[in-house]
């Protein structure tokens, strides 16, 4: 998982009682439902922490091998990048970290 990622601006996140989350992109007017584990990843990808910490957060919640958790998290992040909700961080943003 690359640490050089940033959330697309103005995307909102609504957490529901069952732990799932709805991401809303107002520019595209599309709502994306994500699972509870995806919500943990999204919350952690606020640009302030290294990717390893994201996996650590997941491991504290889910009892699974690190390799599996890391693989699933990478696949989820790749999906967010594909649909444009995660963007490469700019040089300034990366320098701030």
């Amino acid at each position: 998982m690359s640490p050089q990622l940033t959330r697309k601006p103005d995307v909102t996140a609504e957490v529901l009682p069952d732990g799932s989350m709805v991401l809303f992109d107002p520019a595209e007017m599309v709502a994306y439902p994500i699972s509870a584990s995806g919500a943990v990843i999204w919350e952690a990808l606020d640009g302030s922490r290294a990717s390893e910490r994201v996996v650590d957060d997941l491991l504290s919640v889910y009892d699974a091998p690190r390799d599996q958790v890391e693989g699933d998290a990478n696949a989820f992040v790749a999906k967010l990048i594909e649909i444009g909700l995660l963007l490469p961080a700019t040089v300034d943003e990366a320098a701030k970290r």
């Binding site: 909102t12 609504e14 529901l16 009682p17 069952d18 732990g19 799932s20 989350m21 709805v22 809303f24 107002p26 007017m29 709502a31 994306y32 439902p33 994500i34 699972s35 509870a36």
Partner: protein, 287 residues
């Protein structure tokens, strides 16, 4: 048999969620059916209707046809009353939705029993009407099988009254499950809510949300959906009225956050009804 015709058209007046509709007809049969369909919305005010629709039988090439007009503008001509009434309901529904752009339109069936209210969302042809009627035979109260307007601020549901329109396959399925259909369903291929003793001017807020899909298998399955998945699904299926996407999303999140969400993959009608029966029983037993 030629329907009884009056010399002077009867004008029935209704106030459906703030939309005043007048329906003019020379047919006693239409007068009776429309009166039953919208009986809970009778407009007793002196205000003229916002819109006047006319349903009239005519003879065309020696055959009975049913015409629909809006004011002076012809809308359509149909070979049977069921189709004409379906179009009439659609015209009324469209005007109500246009009038009430403060509400979010949800496409689905709303049924309730034992303190539980289920909203069943699904595409046209998924089986909502047939399933709703089968559920009514199991003691479910059917508020609507098609469209409801949702008031986010109060979480109130306002079912829009419509007949339950049945094709031959639906009638066959219902007969096979032992559902006794009213006589109108045989003659006209539709059932009015009054025939099912449904009387919904305001529906209960659903505490169970169901996404309906179909399969060719006989067995029906129920799977849990996350509240986020249900929100996304309802967002795609809803009419936004005068709201922004963000406002609709906020309204739907308010709805889903207090509900349990499932996907029902319909099998045979009987199996599907049993699954929902079981769901209600589990929830009420656990309470």
């Amino acid at each position: 048999m030629t329907p009884a015709i009056c010399a002077d058209p009867a004008i029935l007046r209704f106030d459906i969620l703030g939309c005043r509709v007048g329906i003019a007809t020379r047919s006693r049969l239409v007068e009776r059916l429309v009166g039953r369909l919208y009986r809970d919305y009778t407009d007793t005010s002196a205000e003229p209707p916002d819109t006047l629709l006319q349903v009239s039988p005519i003879s065309q090439d020696g055959k009975l046809r049913w015409t629909l007009a809006a004011g002076r503008e012809p809308v359509s001509c149909h070979p049977d009353l069921g189709t004409a009434l379906n179009v009439l309901e659609y015209e009324i529904c469209r005007r109500v939705i246009d009038r009430r752009r403060d509400l979010v339109m949800l496409h689905g069936a709303l049924v309730s029993r034992d303190g539980m209210a289920l909203f069943i969302s699904g595409k046209s042809g998924a089986g909502k009407t047939t399933l709703s009627l089968a559920l009514s035979a199991r003691g479910f109260h059917v508020e609507t099988d098609d469209v409801a307007l949702f008031e986010a601020s109060s979480m109130r549901f306002h079912p829009i009254p419509r007949c339950f329109h049945l094709d031959s396959r639906s009638k066959q399925l219902l007969r096979a499950t032992g559902v006794q259909m009213p006589e109108t369903s045989e003659r006209h291929s539709f059932v009015t809510p009054a025939d099912l003793r449904a009387c919904a001017t305001r529906g209960p807020t659903p505490n169970v949300l169901i996404a309906l899909t179909r399969t060719e298998s006989d067995s029906a399955t129920l799977a849990t959906l996350t509240q986020a998945e249900m929100t996304g699904l309802l967002m795609r299926e809803s009419g936004w009225g005068g709201h922004s996407a963000a406002e609709v999303l906020s309204a739907l999140v308010r709805l889903t956050r207090q509900a349990r969400c499932y996907q029902l993959t319909m099998g045979s009608l009987d199996a599907s009804v049993k699954v929902l029966d079981g769901l209600i029983w589990r929830h009420t037993s656990a309470a």
